[in-house]
């Protein structure tokens, strides 16, 4: 009982990071994330080959890709490029989509869901009907129109994903916030004179963390794959730029003859999502003191 520190309630708990480091699985998750980020940032220096170079010896004489071997650790793809190098470069795109775009959509979804759930009356009705509208919105169509009008780019896919992906989380958080907003402690905060912003961010949001973690981490996997679909329709990264999603997407029909082309990037996606999930789970437990048992 040495340090009885009063932390000004900036974050609900002090030393979150320190406590995170005490959990084995969370540390594993952090390491994986760090490695992936490192690979993405320093890709040009660590790739064994130029990811876009189609090696003559990268294909068999019949034109089949090579399975993992000494020269190409992860094998080659259908045009004879080194898969390992492409996976490393692909981390860039996939991180931007899975983490940043997905993150933005989680933010938007949370903001809309929490606001609509907390306020009653027209604010809530308008926001939720807008959410319904967006849910029924033909996103693929928007993608195609954007593809035809604009120069395809990562930014556009990211924007489309952020734009369409927030609706689910908004709807789920809306329901949860509605019940949270009725809880007594929220009223108690109001009675203290706490502002709406403070209540929403400091007292409602932390209770939604577990739901948000579920959505945000599963969202990593789904958005990385969604990026591939959107790119396929022409709005995203264009060949030869690699992303984990489009490596899978391009090669999925070949998964019986060249399984490495589907399973290696698939594994990368699962690893990324899982790593965030481990950290997210730990974070949730840390933020929810009622979850703590014998440690």
């Amino acid at each position: 009982m040495a340090d009885v520190a009063i932390s000004v309630p900036v974050a609900p708990t002090p030393g979150v990071f320190r406590r995170l480091l005490k959990r084995k699985l969370a540390v594993f998750g952090l390491i994986v994330i760090a490695l992936i980020v490192f690979a993405a940032v320093f890709a040009p220096w660590i790739v064994p080959y130029n990811p876009d170079e189609q090696f003559f010896e990268g294909l068999t004489l019949e034109g089949a890709p090579l399975a993992p071997n000494v020269q190409f650790w992860f094998g080659t793809d259908l045009v004879g490029r080194d898969l390992l190098s492409r996976i490393i470069y692909g981390a860039r795109t996939s991180l931007i989509i899975g983490v940043i775009a997905n993150g933005v959509s989680v933010l938007i979804g949370s903001a809309v869901g929490i606001t609509a759930g907390y306020f009653k009356g027209w604010v809530s009705t308008v926001l939720m009907r807008f959410t319904d509208l967006m849910m029924a919105f033909p996103a693929l169509l928007l993608a195609i129109v954007l593809a035809a009008i604009f120069r395809p780019s990562l930014l556009i896919v990211a924007m489309v994903i952020a734009m369409v992906n927030w609706v689910q989380i908004a709807r789920v958080l809306y329901t949860e916030t509605r019940s949270l907003a009725e809880r007594d402690f929220v009223e108690a905060e109001r009675a203290l004179g706490a502002g709406t912003f403070r209540i929403l961010t400091r007292h409602i949001f932390p209770h939604l963390v577990s739901t948000i973690v579920v959505y945000a981490t599963l969202g990593i996997a789904t958005t990385v794959l969604l990026e591939a679909t959107l790119s396929y329709l022409g709005i995203g990264v264009q060949p030869p730029t690699a992303s984990w999603g489009n490596i899978i997407f391009e090669n999925q029909t070949y998964f019986t003859s060249a399984p490495w082309l589907v399973f290696i990037p698939g594994f990368a996606i699962i690893l990324l999502a899982l790593a965030f999930n481990l950290v997210g789970d730990a974070l949730r437990d840390i933020l929810d003191p009622t979850q703590q048992g014998h440690h």
Binding site: M1, I6, V8, P12, D184, F185, A191, G193, G195
Partner: protein, 604 residues
């Protein structure tokens, strides 16, 4: 059935050296420490003791339902009919629960499954270990509900818990606990949240049923009135240990342990203040009688809070356009004032609008009429404009656990008001929080714990500390001491009064405990169905109650005197009326007549 208890020589349950521990970040903490007692068939054992002394933990240990994975029975023996409860496997425990030991939990509001009908939850308990047809079980359920005096029992069977009032839910819980005719009924604070009239009904009901079935009861309570009314034997606990065990008469008449003596001394008794003008601890301010003093203050400064025609109605909406279809007339045309340094108590039965009045003063719900705080009208003020006013008016909410954000450390929760209003930071903030903790009788080293790690009473003190942190001019205290054991209750009441003496703070004190109200109030307002039926000084109300409803409230208060004859069970108890009215309803206002010296009474 005879009225005398047939006790065989063999105890039904004997507990030996029970040790229960909870896990904390600092390691295991023993919360029940070497407890031993015997329970005879048909007798009532009351476990009393200060809040946080391990009463609930004891009960939960006996039925093996401690919160997992935090808590566990570390050692001990609980022999029930010759079997050790702690050694039973899952199946054995399942057979034990319900059929042999029934339990009513401390939190009645959350103990029923919200998505199942009352009927289903009852039938399920009835058929748990006794196969019978659904129709038979339904008939049995109906019989049980009628037995616990729920009006309109047949209809209730198909209702859901949230459609029932708190008192009704508590009675459903009792019906469930009794449904399998257990040998032992454990009741953990079964009446804390209930107003006196309902409390009286439930206590007499338990006694009545006990007589009929010969059930042994372990009753956990901090209310010595309840102990006196119910117990055969009493176990007094402190810090997880038993400090005294004896018959109820022995305990009340010749308490051995100093703690027990202290506990009994602290018990407020109704009528104890006969003939005294000021609240119990109020220093007689100079020569002036308190009432005159406050009146003088009121005249010079004007009242601190001035309420005129306060009306709160909740619309019940429906239809395609979501237009109101009917209304809850929660509060109708209340007018009152609170002067500096004055305590106004608000009493009345559950659902009469007490909390609603408090919330209206905080501007937490829409209301009409006029409320002035220090002369400033709060009607129509936005959240921002209310903020400075909230520095002067604070509220302690009725349910302390629910009103504390479970994700925050209690220290942060107490510090939060100061941070919101920008009143302190850094070490100053820390000092202030520690000071507040001490002030409400908590140790500052509990600052880093979370609300769920505290017992019911400790949480209530945290809420009080929170309200005090801003040094407001008025505190609305909604049932703020109801969950506290008498010693702490006395401490807190003393604290409230000391602060009042020091700073001239005013209280709007909402309570169902008439004895407490008698001790603390300058004036008392009795509320019924959203309106006042009687308003006057404490002496006027307690020594000269004029309205029949006021008298009814007073007579329902349990008296901490075991020799007093226990009240009989009144099968024809009155149900609470619904305040829901059709849209065009014109309320009939009570005409309050001054029968002298500002003692207002409504025509009966």
């Amino acid at each position: 059935m005879t009225t005398t208890h047939k006790t065989s020589s063999e105890p039904l349950l004997s507990v030996r050296d029970l040790v229960t521990q909870v896990a904390t970040p600092m390691g295991a903490k023993t919360v029940v420490d070497g407890l031993s007692f015997d329970l005879m068939r048909g007798e009532t054992l009351c476990i009393a003791g200060e809040s946080g002394s391990g009463k609930s933990m004891t009960a939960l240990s006996l039925i093996q339902l401690l919160p997992k994975p935090m808590a566990r029975v570390a050692s001990g023996l609980a022999l029930f009919k010759g079997r050790d409860v702690f050694a039973l496997d899952d199946e054995g425990l399942r057979k034990l629960r319900g059929k042999e030991i029934g339990m009513i939990f401390q939190e009645p509001m959350t103990s029923l499954n919200p998505v199942l009908t009352i009927g289903r939850q009852l039938v399920e308990a009835i058929t748990a270990q006794r196969p019978m047809s659904h129709a038979e079980a339904m008939a049995e359920a109906l019989r049980l509900l009628e037995q616990v005096q729920i009006s309109d029992a047949a209809r209730r069977l198909s209702q859901y818990p949230h459609e029932l009032s708190g008192g009704m839910r508590q009675r459903v819980m009792i019906a469930i606990a009794l449904s399998q005719g257990p040998d032992i009924l454990i009741a953990d604070e079964p009446t804390t949240a209930l107003d006196v009239t309902v409390q009286a009904q439930i206590l007499s009901l338990i006694r009545h049923l006990q007589k009929e079935h010969g059930t042994a009861v372990i009753m956990i309570t901090h209310d010595m009135g309840v102990v006196a009314e119910m117990a055969d034997h009493v176990l007094v606990m402190k810090n997880g240990k038993a400090v005294e065990y004896g018959t109820v008469r022995d305990i009340f008449e010749k308490p051995g342990a100093p703690y027990t003596q202290m506990l009994l001394e602290a018990v407020p008794t109704l009528g104890e203040m006969h003939g005294i003008d000021t609240p119990k601890r109020a220093k007689p301010i100079a020569a002036v009688p308190a009432s005159a003093a406050t009146e003088a203050a009121a005249r010079t400064d004007g009242p601190l809070v001035e309420v005129r025609d306060l009306t709160v109605r909740f619309d019940i909406k429906g239809g395609i356009l979501q237009r109101p279809v009917s209304r809850v007339h929660a509060v109708e045309g209340l007018s009152f004032e609170i002067a500096k340094g004055e305590t106004l108590s608000l009493v009345g039965e559950s659902g009469c609008g007490k909390s609603t009045t408090g919330k209206a003063l905080m501007n937490l719900i829409p209301w009409t009429g006029s409320i002035r705080v220090k002369g400033q009208e709060t009607s129509g003020l936005g959240r921002r404009a209310m903020k400075p006013i909230l520095r002067d008016v604070q509220m302690v909410f009725q349910d302390p656990y629910a009103s504390l954000d479970p994700r925050y450390r209690v220290g942060d929760l107490v510090a939060e008001p100061l941070v919101i209003h920008g009143l302190a930071k850094g070490s100053e903030l820390k000092d202030r929080v520690e000071y507040l903790f001490r002030r409400v009788g908590l140790s500052p080293d509990q600052i880093n714990r979370y609300p769920h790690e505290f017992s019911g009473g400790q949480r209530q003190r945290i809420s009080i500390a929170r309200a005090l942190s801003l040094s407001p001019k008025v505190i609305i205290a909604d049932e703020s001491v109801s969950a506290l054991d008498v010693s702490i209750q006395a401490q807190v009441l003393d604290l409230l009064q000391d602060i009042q003496n020091e700073t001239g703070i005013a209280y709007l004190f909402i309570s169902h405990d008439m004895a407490v109200v008698e001790q603390i109030s300058h004036r008392v307002a009795v509320m019924y169905m959203g309106q006042f039926v009687e308003v006057g000084t404490r002496r006027q109300i307690f020594e000269n109650p004029r309205h029949s409803y006021t008298r009814q409230l007073l007579s329902a208060v349990p008296v901490p005197d075991p020799r007093r004859e226990r009240r009989l069970y009144d099968a024809a108890a009155r149900e609470i009326k619904s305040p829901i009215r059709p849209l065009g309803y014109q309320p009939v206002y009570n005409q309050l007549t001054d029968i002298g010296d500002r003692h207002l009474v409504a025509a009966a």
